[in-house]
Subunit: 510 residues, 2 copies
């Protein structure tokens, strides 16, 4: 399915639509409808369960999403969080330089100077894509942050958080105090980030307000040693810089231990990379062969990132591999900048005679992008039926309950719904249309189980008295199950998986 | 406990702290730490389970929180979402007029003209509370919305949502199409709202970024008849306008049916009012005698509100009753305004020959305020111990698992944690300090159950082999429970309660 077809489908089914649709929509802003919201929430919960679950010393917080100017000055966003932009002097349309140069330079403009970008525009005699006139401006930096005035005087300036990470850096010293002064210390945030994109596009891939799930792990590089053994033999689909330079586009499968012993990556990095791959493959359910871990070179990554692999998944709707998340080893850049900016000493004592600025490993995950990617990779057609092979933990509804006959079986079916809900199972009731239509509807939205109450359920003389038909989505297998046994049988199946083993932080410094 | 004591306690324990604390904090912005975030999330889930659970035709969505200017122009926020503000011409400090007049007019300035407010300032010769000089300006309207520039040109203006409600009004026609064109149709949003408060104060009570949970119910007033029977005999703590005018401050207990038959309130309003009261009392666990349903008079409520009761709870920390939520019967104001603003016909066909603009009943709930109120009313001291009597569904941790001895019992205790988590139970592991200290820590954060693994658990020769000690928070009662039986015994106890019965919408109009 192409991007606009997939969007039309998701829109028609009420997953999402452009914000303020009755006013003609708002560029780069989308609203999630009931199914979209439920799926997004499940995705966020699955991310938290997995990544916060990696260690009892990883915690989730919920910061405000407006940052004072001093914060974004220190972080570098005020100066550097820009995209090169060109405006047509005739029709006044603004464009991103990389978009406008897409055909002549498909690899993008990262790392190019403004002069070099201007040179490409002149060299290829690029005209305005909208009005066709040769009146494009020189490229200039456009800051992507949304600024707001705080208070009455207008002298205090704030910025909508361009990423959730900054709030975690600001929270570090408080969290370190509240906790037991031990590292590693992980601070996770699932929250909104805002970017004034010059040209929002590709629906959920370049939005002006979007949701990130990020984990910042603060650690002492001399002692950070999560248990690599747990994932040492895991094979990962690596597309390294050397292979890329040799022209490769498909990844090679390398074990986690080889990444450490042969490619020299730190064990703490590989530990988290392997768990990240498992999350995409086992929890989200992307086909393993559609995932690649794409290493960024020194010129491609931000200067403070020492190691960066992007998690990319091949998406039919967008015609190629797309970045859905990343792991950044940021060194001590962030806390050093905020120590300078705030005047507060952010060093911590890691040994009686050793104080350091903690290093940061950042795991970042685009919630909206992954929601799109799940739809892209998961929605399949099998003969007559459309099926969304969603992981059980991600399905908006875990169980759908049907009365075979709308009137006669309604009461008992509603009782089953209430019983499931009381046990914390997300159950929905559907009485509209034939049973076949209801199965089809539930297959389309990925509901793993359907339960039908029928005449036999209610008939004390029947051997199936007190039982219902339980139908599994993928296999379409059906069995009779006693209502009494439903919760016991289904109960544990929808909790988001946790990683195989969590690990403890090192000993307290105190 | 006073407000600053309670805040100091919550801050020390890592529930919340001022945003950008290392930069000296950001006025009116707070970050939630791990416990605060967990409690807030539980509170949001409890609200959704209860109110969205009132009907299968109530749905939760997740809209973007930036609104185009046309939207806030139509809604009236651009013109009217203002507070009267006065600035001291000497020290340049800005004040809210109602704050500065608090001593001479404790009931606030709602409904007063700017001239009248200016008259009061002159009459009482109010000086600047900060510098003491008699140089306060005349009062002027200050718009509380945060504006942002969208896109490169700066010509497109957006506003951070001042309330979540507007997004639901914008979504109505899409939701009506996606659904089965039936009313009532409920659209719920749990999301951030933003207000550029002149003088943020009282911690979580007047914030610049805060979380609202709101349900907008769209209906045909001629046919909206939820089953009042379910709550007819419920007694509600009403403080009506007439009683208030007669000087009453404490509520009288009136049955839901009497509110309809004797006071002439619409049954649909009373149905939701009664369920709201139940939610505050039974789900959140506020003492019934500390709640009152405070009727606003025609001059106190916004002009488009036909009926308004605020839900108020008496808070020691803030020295009186505080508004934590409200029910607004807004008539057809909202959809009428957006039909005018967007040019889109928002009428719906409710009978073959009848088209109407749906009416709206709004249920609104301040998530942050309620978190504060739960701490205020729930944190109690019993002899030596501090106890937070949190509802089981709200506790950040449902079960804490302790090894009696840190080394010897660790492995088995972690297995118990994993087993509970696999069943979707929020379990934490705590091995620090004596068992008594661990109980105390868990009592303070409201954990309903503690489980201890000890020598008997591991000793095949002991009668208690394979069992653990299960301890209940409030009673401190302890019993031995088989590990195998833990999930079965505890499993169903933490799901947020749902209302006694949900109801169906009326027949489809199609």
């Amino acid at each position: 399915m192409k991007s606009d077809e997939l969007f039309a489908l998701l829109r028609r089914r009420g997953y999402l639509w452009p914000s303020a649709e009755i006013y003609g929509g708002a560029q780069g802003l989308y609203d999630y409808g009931p199914l979209g919201h439920a799926l997004k929430r499940r995705l966020e919960e699955a991310w938290s369960a997995w990544f916060v679950g990696l260690s009892d010393d990883y915690h989730e917080i919920e910061p405000a999403d407006i940052l004072p100017e001093a914060v974004v000055r220190a972080s570098g966003h005020l100066e550097n969080f820009t995209d090169p932009e060109v405006t047509c002097d005739s029709c006044l349309t603004a464009f991103r330089a990389d978009t406008i140069l897409e055909k002549v330079r498909p690899e993008g403009v990262d790392g190019l100077t403004f002069e070099a970008i201007g040179g490409l525009l002149r060299e290829h005699r690029i005209a305005c894509p909208r009005c066709g006139k040769p009146t494009l401006s020189v490229p200039r930096p456009f800051n992507l942050m949304f600024g707001v005035d705080l208070g009455v005087t207008g002298k205090e300036r704030g910025y909508l958080a361009p990423e959730t990470a900054q709030a975690s850096y600001l929270a570090f010293s408080r969290m370190y105090e509240v906790g037991r002064k031990a590292m590693p210390l992980g601070i996770a945030v699932v929250g909104r980030a805002y970017r004034n994109e010059i040209a929002p596009r590709q629906v959920l891939f370049r939005m002006r307000a979007f949701t990130q799930a990020e984990l910042q792990i603060f650690f002492d590089p001399a002692s950070f040693a999560p248990p690599l053994e747990a994932v040492a033999s895991e094979r990962l689909p690596i597309l390294g810089v050397a292979a890329r330079e040799a022209g490769a586009e498909t990844p090679e499968w390398v074990t986690a231990s080889a990444l450490v012993s042969e490619r020299g990556l730190p064990a703490f990095y590989v530990f988290h990379l392997a768990h990240t791959f498992r999350f995409y493959r086992d929890v989200l359910g992307y086909p393993a062969e559609s995932i690649r871990l794409f290493e960024k070179s020194a010129t491609e990554r931000a200067f403070y990132n020492r190691i960066q692999f992007d998690v990319e998944v091949h998406l039919e709707s967008l015609g190629g591999y797309k970045e859905l998340g990343a792991l950044h080893y940021r060194g001590d850049y962030d806390l050093t900048r905020h120590a300078e900016g705030s005047g507060k000493d952010l060093q911590v004592l890691v040994a009686p005679d050793r104080r350091i600025v903690p290093h940061v490993l950042e795991l970042t995950f685009g919630v909206d992008r992954n929601l799109w990617a799940l739809a892209d990779t998961g929605l399949t057609t099998e003969g007559e039926r459309t099926l969304w092979r969603l992981s059980r933990c991600l399905a908006p509804w875990s169980v759908a309950v049907f009365p075979l006959l709308k009137k006669e079986h309604r009461e008992r079916a509603l009782e089953v719904v209430a019983r499931l809900r009381d046990a914390g199972i997300r159950a929905t009731y559907d009485a509209a249309g034939s049973i076949g239509k209801r199965y089809a509807r539930m297959d389309e939205v990925g509901t793993p189980y359907c339960v039908t109450v029928d005449g036999e359920t209610l008939d004390p003389a029947n051997a199936n008295f007190g039982t219902v038909t339980l139908r599994e989505r993928d296999s379409r297998a059906q069995e009779r199950v006693a209502i009494e046994a439903l919760v016991g049988q289904l109960g544990g199946r929808f909790a988001p998986p946790r990683p195989p083993a969590s690990y403890d932080a090192g000993p307290s410094a105190a």
